[in-house]
Symmetry: C2
Subunit: 120 residues, 2 copies
């Protein structure tokens, strides 16, 4: 159902260069909204930083005070935002981060002079 209308390619145009169109803003907002929750942010970080770049739900459930269905819900939101992908391997389902999506977002936020604070 409904690809999120967000293709990772060609979307790295930073938003500081020219005004976003309503269409692109809607697509970007969907992804940012997916990141706008502490639980999802921690899930994403937990998956990304896990050994091998993937983790199964059983490893994620123990870290939070959230119930199973809630974890599953957050993973679904991240999946539909195109940030992660899940693969069933036997009994467990392993989730991994899609690096292109994160890189695309980072590109959108790039100001052109990035991380050079003292820079001038």
């Amino acid at each position: 159902m409904s690809n999120q209308g967000w293709s990772t390619e060609g979307c790295c145009e930073p938003l500081v260069r020219e005004p976003l169109t309503a269409d692109r803003a809607a697509g970007l907002a969907r992804v940012f909204k997916a990141l706008g929750d502490p639980a999802r942010l921690r899930l994403l970080s937990l998956i990304a930083s896990h050994e091998g770049g993937e983790a199964c739900v059983c490893e994620l459930s123990g870290v939070f005070d959230l119930s199973g269905p809630t974890i599953s819900h957050h993973l679904k939101v991240l999946r539909e935002a195109g940030l992660i992908a899940g693969e069933r391997r036997g009994t467990w389902i392993y989730y991994r981060v899609l690096p292109d999506a994160l890189a695309g977002l980072a590109g959108v936020l790039d100001t052109g002079r990035a991380s050079v604070p003292a820079g001038r």
Copy 2:
């Protein structure tokens, strides 16, 4: 009132390196949530891409189908998220983007191989 608990320095640690703490996840989620709305995203882009890097509310109101109070509300959210700053100059209030905040977010999202597709 209420700094958002988000200091731009030292927060560029990418979330793919190690799991986010609950505290940092909450701070980051607040900023991402501010970006998770098409109107706010367009406002931010409009301000950032405007000549001189700043724009007054009167120039922003005409672009959207939103009422004045709604525009003001979104600007307040962006301001409290530490993404923009407003300065009154005579009758009009000029908003400008805080580049460090965007750069910090981009750093958090950085996957390490960022926008180098042919990678290393």
